[in-house]
């Protein structure tokens, strides 16, 4: 007979999440802002902001955020986070000393103190019990591993795209997030950007009739397996090359990789389909209500891949042929009653019969604000954000499967329930890559 009293799950989750929502006790907050030793000596002056004065949220209402690998794109997203009233950014982890310093300066200037902590070791930042959530904005190669480590540490996660390098990583990510019940938002933005959500609304509302074909703007899939010539490795406290590589295969150091020019290398980059497909294929999945699945057929044609869902809808991943002036990351949805095409410039074109549905928007597709807000709302309510791990996993699987078909140069069939290619052993072997020790997902 079990000696454990079975607590109703809803009650348990409610109690645990109440703890999580108020995880920054006043004492912890004060420890973070008052210099070490001061607590035991001079009279303690509690900042008014800690008590919720002058419009500041009290410490118990704040979400404590840490950052991992924040460069230029990450810096933009961090600015969006830091503009939210409940965010308190307390720590940065980066393998590059200059980036640690830059983000610490940004945070310290914002808060008017010198309290932002710097780490070069991801385990140390994730071990901080006061941190509720992390913003992960490293290069692609680290996204899954860092997210899984964060999930295991009980953190909520906002992770820049793309969120995985392989089908296996996509599945491991979704499984781990589900297992630990954390809130996960992929930094794809567009599910919270007005023109895209409006267009999806038209599709789901039946305005286009029965959906026939969805088109996703992707890029040239070609990458290189080459190495840049070896350069002397900098001191570890300047750039930790071993940590930069992380789960990726070893190669000699070259400063170009570390300075952001790692795209286009097979070991570090998921390829051109994933680069934009993590946004656009994701939107197509959403339009087709396929967030829990992926296409069952993939046929490469030049730089493009033509896919087919089990429900008969076609997905065309293509580089070119997009209408002018819509910007980057375009999508096109075709139904039997019309079509609509839109992109990052917030403009849209529609078939003649749907011109009355045209709307003007101004928010660009690259803007993270709505997405960040959605994430923070879900951190507090424990609801599921729009670009959650399950939906993200499936859209990434679609991109990875397409890329595998393109690499092999042949049509592939995929079983999205078993998560394997049908009758193609070579393709199945490409679903995963062994990760460099000591890391694991």
């Amino acid at each position: 007979m079990s000696s454990i009293e079975i607590m109703p799950l809803d009650q348990l989750i409610s109690e645990e999440m109440a703890v999580k929502r108020t995880s920054v006790s006043r004492r912890q907050f004060l420890k973070a802002t008052v210099p070490a030793g001061a607590l035991a000596s001079a009279p303690l002056i509690i900042p008014g902001s800690a008590l919720g004065k002058n419009g500041a949220l009290p410490a118990s209402e704040r979400i404590v955020l840490g950052g991992i690998g924040i460069g230029s794109r990450g810096g933009l997203v961090l600015s969006s986070f830091m503009s939210q009233p409940e965010i308190q950014f307390v720590a940065i982890c980066d393998i590059r000393a200059e980036r640690r310093d830059a983000i610490k300066t940004k945070a310290d200037e914002k808060y008017g103190n010198k309290d932002c902590a710097k780490y070069s070791n991801i385990h140390e930042i994730l071990a901080r019990p006061d941190i509720d959530a992390v913003l992960i904005a490293t290069g692609d190669r680290w996204h899954t591993t860092a997210s899984i480590l964060a999930a295991r540490a009980g953190k909520d996660i906002y992770c820049e795209k793309p969120c995985s390098m392989t089908i296996a990583e996509s599945l491991a990510l979704a499984d781990t997030v589900r297992r630990f019940g954390c809130v996960y938002q992929a930094g794809t933005q567009r599910r919270n950007v007005a023109n895209f959500t409006y267009v999806i609304g038209l599709v789901h509302g039946g305005t286009l009739g029965k959906l026939q074909t969805v088109h996703a703007n992707t890029q040239d899939p070609k990458v290189t397996h080459n190495w840049l010539p070896a350069q002397p490795e900098p001191p570890k406290d300047v750039v930790d090359w071993d940590a930069w590589l992380g789960p990726c295969p070893w190669r000699p150091f070259h400063s170009d990789y570390v300075r952001g020019r790692w795209r286009g290398y097979f070991d570090f980059h998921g390829g051109g389909i994933l680069e934009w497909g993590s946004h656009t294929v994701d939107l197509c999945q959403w339009a087709n209500k396929a967030d829990n699945s992926a296409p069952v057929e993939y046929e490469p044609q030049g730089k493009d891949v033509i896919c087919l869902y089990a429900n008969g809808v076609k997905l065309v991943m293509r580089e070119g042929g997009w209408q002018k002036d819509l910007g980057t990351c375009c999508v096109r949805f075709e139904g039997d009653s019309g079509w609509i095409e839109t992109g990052d410039f917030a403009r849209m074109n529609l078939s003649d019969n749907l011109k009355d549905k045209h709307k003007t928007f101004t928010e660009r597709g690259t803007t993270p604000d709505g997405h960040v807000r959605d994430f923070l709302n879900c951190v507090k309510s424990r609801a599921t954000p729009r670009s959650n791990a399950d939906a993200t996993s499936q859209s990434h699987i679609a991109c990875h499967a397409a890329y595998i078909a393109w690499q092999l140069g042949r049509k592939l069939k995929y079983d999205p329930v078993k998560n394997e290619f049908v009758g193609d052993a070579e393709a199945n072997r490409m679903r995963s890559r062994a990760i460099r020790e000591p890391w694991r997902v």
């Binding site: 079990s2 000696s3 454990i4 079975i6 607590m7 799950l9 348990l12 989750i13 645990e16 703890v19 999580k20 999930a151 295991r152 540490a153 009980g154 499984d175 297992r179 630990f180 019940g181 954390c182 290189t224 397996h225 080459n226 190495w227 295969p249 070893w250 190669r251 052993a425 070579e426 072997r429 490409m430 995963s432 890559r433 062994a434 990760i435 460099r436 020790e437 000591p438 694991r440």
Partner: protein, 210 residues
């Protein structure tokens, strides 16, 4: 090097050329004095096309600090039991990071024959190796792996995360009873991290539902 009568593979090859070589030539590259680049690419290509024939050449690199991961990169996807034999053997000989890498690969391949060896490593003095062994047992996720994890769980919470994954593995194999027993053992510990406790409770409740 066996005398096949064929011209030796030139060592100064580009990646695109290496990626089109057939297995025999790739193995030849691995066992030659080819530059690191060529040998690395050969390992990566063998991940896609390698067979049992490639296993000895790849396994020979498991103890090489520079190439151990490349060797596993090539070995892990090869669907032949000789890979598991080679990884098991290496897990008992290597130490430190290389050992951890091999242990991770055993877990990824879900090698049930490695349970005993992994259990011994879990009892060892190297905490990182022990953690890797526990994680690998969690990934194998069968009854014998669960037994070993539960045995260690009685004295330390450090394997708690691995237990969670093991429970899910048991459930996919239809072993509901043992999964529940492992969830219960987890929840008996009062010192679990909150995230693990919640995950274990969630898992237990879901498993109990009809």
């Amino acid at each position: 090097m066996p005398d096949t009568g064929a011209a030796p593979v030139p060592v100064q090859l580009k990646a695109e050329e290496i990626m089109t070589l057939e297995q025999t030539k790739l193995i030849e590259l691995l066992t030659s004095d080819a530059p690191d680049f060529a040998r690395a690419k050969a390992c990566q290509r063998l991940a896609v096309i390698g067979t049992r024939e490639a296993v000895p050449a790849l396994a020979a690199l498991l103890a090489d600090p520079k190439f151990s991961h490349y060797a596993r990169y090539g070995l892990e996807p090869i669907p032949d039991p000789s890979v598991d034999d080679a990884l098991r053997e290496a897990s008992g000989k290597l130490t430190g990071r290389l050992q951890i890498g091999v242990i991770n690969s055993l877990g990824n391949r879900r090698d049930t024959k490695a349970v005993e060896a992994l259990a011994r490593l879990m009892d060892g003095s190297d905490a990182d190796v022990a953690a890797a062994a526990a994680a690998a047992l969690g990934r194998i996720g069968d009854g014998s792996a669960a037994k070993e994890l539960q045995r260690v769980l009685d004295r330390t919470k450090t394997v708690a995360g691995a237990c969670l994954e093991c429970c899910e593995g048991l459930l996919t194999k239809g072993n509901k009873e043992q999964a529940l027993a492992l969830y219960e053992a987890l929840l008996l510990r009062s010192d679990l991290p909150p995230a693990v406790r919640l995950a274990a409770t969630r898992g237990q409740q879901a498993t109990r539902r009809p």
